[in-house]
């Protein structure tokens, strides 16, 4: 592999990894609090992309406004999913919520097929022209979109860390992740904090979905499935429940995917397999992931 192609792959790996990281955070935050794998999370990504698409095509909004509205819409959807599907099951066995999550995922996909139609739509008209330009960096030809995606992702991740570690609601999110009843005793409204967590994770997923659609400019009702699964693997890889772990897991997974195909082009057809091989290896040898802590049973 030549230096320029390596550089290209490096940027592609970082961008893909950043997207996995964005999406993985939603899984890990919800799991950290409710011990629930929100399987509908990948579909929020899809809805986010459609919202941005219709904002421009139907409502004729400028792309940047449509994107912001779509991200807010994704946040609202995440909040709504929790209120409608998971909140009534808080006291139920965990398996009930898990099955509901799978049902919610099917519902969102079917809903999208009915409302948006099953035929893929081109996202090219949404992506602003300047992002499609190609610049040459040290001989490597890289789309401006790649830098834009990477910069946006990093900015969003930084914003998330700021919210979680520097704000009052972030402090409450970290508190309920270890002890729900005691957080309630502090006077914090648990349902609002959980709802906020869903909204925050979903906003990131919506943003991820839009960037995803700009990079792979075709959207369809099932587009959230594979990125959702991969991001879930990234979250497990990094240590589910840990936000930094999800970020790290996302970047490592994205980079590995791109680099393995880069170094061994004959394996390109197996691209989606790597992530699952990693999942199996992690579950076999280090189920707590890179940064995850063993859950200690409180006596």
């Amino acid at each position: 592999m030549s230096g320029t192609i390596f550089l290209q792959n490096l940027f592609n790996g970082l961008t893909l990894g950043g997207l996995y990281a964005l999406i993985a955070i939603g899984y890990t935050m919800v799991y950290g609090i409710l011990r629930l794998i929100n399987f509908a999370h990948g579909d929020v990504l899809m809805i986010g992309a459609y919202l941005a698409f219709y904002g421009v095509t139907l409502m004729s909004m400028p792309w940047y406004i449509s994107v912001v509205v779509a991200i807010l819409g994704s946040a609202g959807l995440g909040f709504l999913i929790d209120r409608v599907a998971y909140k009534p099951l808080r006291e139920s066995p965990r398996i009930s919520a898990l099955i509901t999550a799978i049902g919610m995922s099917f519902f969102l996909e079917s809903f999208a097929v009915v409302v948006f139609g099953g035929i893929p739509k081109s996202f090219l008209s949404i992506t602003p022209r300047f992002l499609k330009k190609v610049v040459v960096v040290f001989g490597a030809r890289i789309q401006v979109l790649t830098f834009f995606a990477l910069a946006t992702t990093v900015a969003l991740l930084a914003l998330l860390l700021w919210i979680v570690y520097k704000t009052k609601i972030g402090m409450a999110m970290r508190a309920i992740a270890t002890d729900i009843p005691t957080t309630a005793l502090m006077g914090a409204n648990i349902d609002n904090i959980i709802g906020f967590t869903f909204a925050l994770g979903s906003a990131l997923a919506g943003a991820g979905g839009i960037i995803w659609a700009m990079r792979y400019p075709q959207i369809n009702p099932y587009m959230g499935f594979m990125p959702g699964l991969k991001a879930f693997i990234a979250a497990v890889f990094g240590g589910i429940g840990s936000i930094q772990g999800a970020m790290l897991g996302g970047f490592i997974l994205g980079m590995m995917e791109i680099m393995i195909v880069g170094f061994f082009p004959q394996l390109a057809g197996y691209r989606d397999v790597f992530a699952f091989v990693i999942l199996i290896l992690i579950l076999m040898f280090k189920p707590t992931g890179i940064m995850g802590k063993k859950l200690t049973v409180k006596v």
């Binding site: 009052k168 402090m171 409450a172 508190a175 309630a184 502090m186 006077g187 914090a188 409204n189």
Partner: protein, 241 residues
């Protein structure tokens, strides 16, 4: 005691865990400014009484009134906002939050920055050790320090009523004495206290009035100096014949 002076009134409280009848008609009164204690053996229903008042456990029947208002089965955050704070059993410090953040969680419902600062200073006066540990994670504190933090955290909401569940449990004898002293000090500043203890001697010497619980029922009540002289209490709880 007249009605206006009552801070908390519990009437005929029944609580079930599934089929288990945990509280079988508890009634008690907490006058304003007093230290009231509930003593009893393991499983008598002391903790359940507190967690039901706090709203963490739902009552099947009965009534809980706080400052004249019915708070039965209100959610815990509402109860806290009304002015009841709790030091839970086993301290329940947030291990992944710093000591400072733990204290700020205690002040979660408040917006008065100056008042919060004042209360921080007061808490540091009570427990100077906490000030040195502010940036440390709660989980790294020793058991005694965690108990100090749990009490301080509860005080940070500036409660009218402070409920404490076994604050002396698992502490070294010297610290146990310190905790009971602190309880008196907090009460001296005007906070009403409902204290649950297995350490009956310490609790009865600290409180003004006591209730004795046995398997979900109150079997005895009275001013603490009388309870200390009571033969049954002596035999069953104080270990003196």
């Amino acid at each position: 005691m007249s009605r206006e002076e009552l801070m908390l009134e519990v009437e005929d409280l029944h609580v079930y865990y599934g089929a288990i009848h945990a509280l079988k008609g508890i009634s008690l009164k907490v006058p304003k400014g007093a230290i009231i204690t509930l003593i009893g053996a393991n499983g008598a229903g002391k903790t359940t009484t507190l967690t039901t008042i706090a709203g963490l456990v739902k009552a099947r029947s009965g009534r809980i009134k706080f400052m004249g208002e019915d708070i039965t089965n209100k959610p815990p955050h509402t109860v806290t906002q009304m002015g009841i704070a709790m030091v839970p059993e086993g301290r329940r410090i947030f291990p992944n939050l710093t000591v400072y953040e733990n204290l700020m969680m205690g002040a979660y419902t408040r917006k008065d920055r100056e008042g919060i600062q004042e209360d921080l200073e007061w808490v540091f006066q009570l427990f100077p050790r906490l000030k040195e540990r502010l940036t440390q994670l709660g989980g790294t504190l020793s058991g005694g320090e965690q108990q100090m933090l749990a009490i301080s955290r509860a005080l940070m909401s500036r409660p009218k009523l402070l409920m404490m569940d076994e604050p002396s449990l698992g502490l070294a004898p010297l610290l146990v004495m310190e905790v009971f002293d602190v309880i008196k000090k907090i009460n001296g500043e005007g906070t009403t206290i409902l204290l649950v203890e297995q350490n009956a001697m310490g609790a009865l010497k600290t409180a003004h009035y006591g209730y004795v619980l046995e398997t979900g029922k109150i079997v005895l009540e009275g001013p603490t100096d009388e309870l200390l002289q009571n033969e049954e209490v002596k035999k069953a709880y104080l270990g003196v014949a």
